[in-house]
């Protein structure tokens, strides 16, 4: 992972926007006023951070539960390490998968190396999505499970200090 070097002004912009952009007609000018630079500087720097991947995207972050997507299942799969990148790309491309990662196994407790998160309005909807993933993986599946979340114990945003 490339670490992008950010200067003090970049960090000030991050700190000023990580809880959200101002909901005003000129949000970038308002951020600029707060950090002490001009609007064009904020726009240029956010554009640069977007290009470098420091900013993943700018927009709305929906709360799944409030949209009625109250069921979430972490589907986990054990596939051959030699195949996991090809299969992960396939699963990650499904439009209903919100996160898809390769992670290490923790043997003997945990044999799975491919994780894909799915959400649904009902348990059936999540199961249907899981079945679709299973179809795509086909004979590559050596073992599989799904872990439903039963309770959110903590949820805070990531905090980066300015």
């Amino acid at each position: 992972m490339t670490v992008t070097s950010l200067d003090a002004l970049d960090r000030a912009i991050v700190a000023a926007t990580q809880s959200g952009l101002p909901l005003t007609p000129t949000p970038y000018a308002d951020v600029a006023a707060a950090v002490g630079c001009d609007e064009a500087e904020v726009i240029t720097r956010l554009g640069r951070m977007l290009e470098a991947g420091v900013v993943r995207r700018i927009g709305a972050v929906p709360n799944h539960y409030r949209l009625g997507l109250s069921h979430n299942g972490m589907t986990v799969w054990d596939v051959d390490d030699a195949e996991v990148d090809r299969l992960g790309a396939l699963i990650g491309a499904l439009d209903f998968v919100t996160h898809c990662y390769r992670r290490p196994r923790a043997l003997p407790d945990w044999p799975y190396n491919l994780f894909a998160m799915v959400h649904g309005r009902s348990r059936d909807e999540v199961e249907a999505k899981r079945a679709e993933i299973a179809d795509l993986l086909g004979p590559a599946i050596r073992a599989a499970d799904i872990l439903y979340s039963t309770r959110i114990l903590k949820k805070t945003g990531l905090r980066i200090t300015g």
Partner: protein, 156 residues
């Protein structure tokens, strides 16, 4: 947050806003005006609706999403098998640690799944040791090796 797990009542305009704005917010001086025009709305109506959607928790935020690892920070998924009679006490230990960003109860022998986020790579192992010392339970770490997709394409 008010009834954070209850589905919200959205009208068609709200749905269009949520679906259209999950990325690609323009970097121009009047970005809301630009988006409003695309959606056939007035700028002040879009702003008012975004205000309501964030205040009611339909949107947890509106703005840039940062990738902590690009700041030199580290993030790891982690899990523990917590005895049922100690579950709440262990959850409270994690709740008090600022390094823990999310924590979910899941139906599995590994029944507590959480995200550790720290400013340095060494911080992950340090947090793992703190949790193990405080709880006497083994913390399994599942840092990502490769990311195939991360994003939001939720249909409102």
């Amino acid at each position: 947050m008010r009834s954070a797990r209850e589905p919200a009542v959205l009208d068609d305009i709200d749905r269009r806003i949520v679906n259209a704005l999950q990325g690609g917010f323009p970097l121009v001086p009047r970005p809301y005006a630009a988006v409003a025009e695309r959606l056939g709305l007035a700028e002040d109506e879009l702003l008012a609706r975004l205000d309501t959607l964030t205040a009611s928790g339909v949107l947890s935020r509106f703005g840039p999403m940062f990738d902590a690892e690009r700041f030199g920070g580290a993030v790891s998924l982690a899990a523990m098998a917590v005895p049922v009679d100690r579950f709440d006490a262990v959850a409270a230990v994690l709740d008090a640690m600022p390094e823990i960003a999310h924590n979910y109860e899941r139906r599995h022998p590994l029944n507590m799944w959480f995200v550790i986020a720290t400013e340095t790579r060494a911080g992950i192992g340090a947090a793992q040791r703190v949790i193990e010392a405080k709880t006497g339970l083994k913390v399994l770490l599942f840092p990502k090796i490769r990311e195939y997709f991360v994003g939001m394409r939720v249909e409102a």
